[in-house]
């Protein structure tokens, strides 16, 4: 009787199944990522090229709600640097000071667009995906350019978004599905940086 009661209180198979289910949900990342289609990539060929391109010192920084995110910065730094180098807007791009003292700062700030992200994900998790949800991450890219001839920086900004669906949720409108979260971030970054570089090139004060 005692043995039977103890066994009914604790069923290892039942617990193992529950732990496995929770672990699968927690670790499988059952989410689909979409890149917002309202911000498109501006081809390099469309940039207004400067007559006398100058060298520039590039500073890149990824922020989360305005605070430095060094890991994300490390992840995207090479991509952004390559994009600026191949833009044709500068004669050389370096992370060290350059002749003429020109500076280009590119900041990509991740800001939440959807309130209470955790609750949405939690509900989806509790219902094993039956109650789907969509959350959106906003990105604000700010480029600042200064050189010896201009005391005040030229400032340009652009906005973008990545939408993530969890569970049984349909694709968001005006968005293109990405293969992975990494692919979504790479595409979003390329598109938003192309927008601010194009805007910078159009500015009459830009060399």
């Amino acid at each position: 009787m005692v043995n039977g009661l103890a066994a009914s209180r604790f069923n290892p198979r039942h617990w193992a199944r529950q732990v496995l289910l929770l672990a699968t949900l927690a670790l499988s990342g059952c989410a689909t990522h979409y890149v917002d289609s309202n911000t498109k990539e501006v081809p390099v060929a469309d940039y207004k090229k400067p007559v006398n391109a100058k060298p520039v010192q590039l500073l890149f920084e990824f922020q989360t709600r305005g605070a430095i995110n060094t890991r994300a910065t490390d992840f995207l730094k090479a991509q952004v640097s390559d994009q600026v180098k191949t833009s044709g807007l500068f004669s050389a791009v370096d992370d060290k000071p350059v002749a003429g003292g020109a500076l280009l700062s590119v900041t990509l700030n991740n800001v939440p667009l959807t309130d209470d992200l955790f609750t949405k994900g939690f509900v989806t998790g509790l219902t094993f995906g039956l109650a789907g949800s969509t959350v959106s991450d906003g990105y604000v890219c700010t480029v600042k350019y200064v050189d010896a001839g201009h005391a005040d920086p030229i400032v340009k900004m652009a906005r973008h978004a990545i939408h993530t669906t969890m569970g049984a949720s349909g694709a968001p409108p005006n968005a293109i599905k990405a293969d992975s979260v990494t692919a979504a971030i790479n595409v979003m970054t390329r598109q938003i940086v192309s927008q601010v570089l194009n805007d910078l090139a159009q500015d009459p004060a830009f060399p």
Binding site: N3, A7, R9, L59, T64, A67, T70, K96
Partner: protein, 197 residues
């Protein structure tokens, strides 16, 4: 026999749950990222009339608890410095990064900036997070002490009750304090007067 077996299994599952929680909440020593130069501090350094400058020793201020220099805690995790396990050294590296990016770092210069960490706090509480950083900066030129002043910065931010959100947010906000403190130094009129060529 069954009772004993159940006890063993319960303990095994308890241990498994604890390990699982530790993995998912990230109970670890997380190093700060490599300092990144900012346009604001580069321009501030350039406009300070600063000549080539060396960055000297950065260490814990005398009489302070050694733990201040070693780490700060975030809900069971800790943030540590990638430079000799010293947060004072991280402050020195942040200053070096800004000066190097401004083209003003010269290890052979007779103008030397030294730093002594006096305060480093981080609290990723539920609802509100807060952190602070303070150091005494000393500028010497040859045998002449031209500047000796303690500066302090702090920050307050919204802190989630979810550790997976709160921990990286606190780490990012704490990292930003180093840039802010260096920015405060570079903008200080007394410092600018002390380092003027």
């Amino acid at each position: 026999m069954n009772i004993t077996m159940n006890k063993i299994l319960r303990r095994a599952f308890s241990a498994f749950s604890l390990v699982g929680l530790a993995v998912l909440t990230g109970c670890a020593a997380v190093p700060l990222g490599t300092p990144i130069a900012s346009m604001e501090n580069i321009q501030s350094a350039k406009s300070a009339g600063l000549g080539p400058t060396a960055v000297g020793e950065f260490k814990l201020a005398t009489g302070k608890d050694a733990r201040i220099d070693k780490e700060v805690g975030i809900r069971g995790s800790t943030v540590v410095s990638p430079y000799g396990q010293s947060l004072a050294a991280y402050l020195g590296e942040t200053l070096k990064t800004e000066l190097a990016a401004a083209g003003l770092l010269d290890a052979a210069s007779t103008t030397v900036i030294k730093g002594f960490l006096t305060e480093s706090t981080l609290d990723a509480g539920i609802g509100e997070g807060k952190g602070s950083l303070a150091a005494r900066f000393v500028v010497v030129r040859g045998s002449d002490t031209r500047y000796d002043k303690e500066l302090r910065v702090n920050a307050v931010w919204e802190s989630s009750f979810v550790g997976a959100v709160a921990i990286p947010t606190a780490r990012n906000e704490y990292t930003l304090l180093y840039r802010k403190l260096v920015g405060m130094l570079l903008a200080d009129p007394e410092f600018r007067k002390a380092v003027a060529r």
